[in-house]
Symmetry: C2
Subunit: 233 residues, 2 copies
């Protein structure tokens, strides 16, 4: 490649946006911010950042998650969505957005950190209009999550170490956007053998009736997934 060609091609900027899904045991939510500077000052956008040529996208997303929610990387599922590449998606010039999504459990710590950063959570199906092409990114992320949840047990990243079957079901209902039958749900989950009873129960003061707590059997899943096992749903 000649110097001239290099000058022609090497003038694109890179950024990454993140569709962060948080589950608080009740609602599945998406994180957005109000933009503090131009372009689109005041508009709502996904968390994101520009990426210097020397920085990897993974590194950038990692930094973004630290900065915005002080996350625990071992309990967070992250995956690239795809590149959003329209020529005029950003008024500053050609900016390619390599979008990601992540799934986290909403702990009080995260809630606080997000608040201090000016972030706002919106229910999964009530995300307002966003600037740039971020509506499209959110739409794409939702579809991806729906599919993933059906075929891989990614949902467990949205729950704590221990959870009740009811919480798990509620999560699946939110992500799949439809109601599920309690008995069928339990059957399916227990048949998968990927859930282990921990022996603990919920705090009897919080609910009428205590319920058993379970955890996800990661080891067994690793083994199964090596054999090309598909979850279910």
């Amino acid at each position: 490649m000649t110097d001239e060609e290099k000058a022609k091609y090497f003038q694109v900027a890179l950024c990454s946006s993140l569709v962060l899904f948080g589950f608080d045991g009740e609602e599945l939510k998406i994180l957005v911010y109000k933009k503090l500077n131009d372009p689109f000052k005041g508009a709502l956008v996904l968390p994101g950042k520009y990426i210097a040529p020397t920085v990897s996208n993974d590194q950038a997303i990692h930094e973004l998650l630290i900065e915005k929610i002080a996350y625990d990387e071992h309990q967070t599922y992250i995956e690239q969505l795809k590149a959003f590449t329209k020529v005029f998606r950003n008024p500053l010039g050609r900016v390619v957005n390599v979008a990601y999504y992540a799934l986290v459990k909403l702990t009080p710590q995260i809630q606080e950190k997000v608040k201090s950063q000016g972030g706002e959570w919106y229910a999964y199906d009530r995300v307002p209009d966003l600037a740039f092409d971020h509506n499209e990114i959110v739409q794409y992320a939702k579809e991806r999550v729906k599919r993933r949840v059906k075929r891989r047990p990614v949902g467990f990243n949205l729950l704590g170490d221990e959870f009740t079957i009811a919480q798990l079901q509620s999560l699946y209902e939110k992500a799949l956007n439809r109601e599920l039958d309690k008995r069928n749900f339990r059957k399916k989950i227990f048949n998968s053998n990927l859930i282990i009873e921990t022996g603990n129960t919920t705090d009897p003061k919080q609910h009428r009736k205590v319920s058993k707590l379970y955890r996800f059997d990661e080891e067994k899943y690793e083994k199964l997934s090596l054999k090309g096992y598909d979850f279910l749903f």
Copy 2:
């Protein structure tokens, strides 16, 4: 963003590589080229090109397909795979590769065009080592195609307007990389109701016994897919 920041960020180059799957009725193949200039002169690579900041990726892929195979865009399935973004994937500098894959039927015209361009087809499971991170891209593409073929009738793009059930089955066997039972295959395909008998048959001179030709019912598929219908397999 200050001018300084702009200078810092706007120095990435964009390229797109294409994993082109071709089916000739027998074998499912992938197209590669021998690289004519540095870096990696002489190595095998996927077809691809650098993308100027003013050109969209879709446009670039379109041009690439025209240039390499003179394709018919209405009979070709194209989809973005994802962005490959490693910092040091290209010795020239930071180059983000937004990879695509496409599915085409190998007509004699395409075969000829490819030959004249110096392209070579390799059987799906016998693609040799490629330069850059193209092995990884091919691997990713194969997995994507396998999944797509299971859930959406994309396979039909690899066949002509009319095809026999045997051809269709052979294609599925190649893409899924396993053998299928003839009777079960026919049952599944006909139950989907997405296949229409055209009334024509294969040329009696070519085979011992003529067989019926079918075509894909695109209209019906459009309707079904709006309702969230998943193909099968």
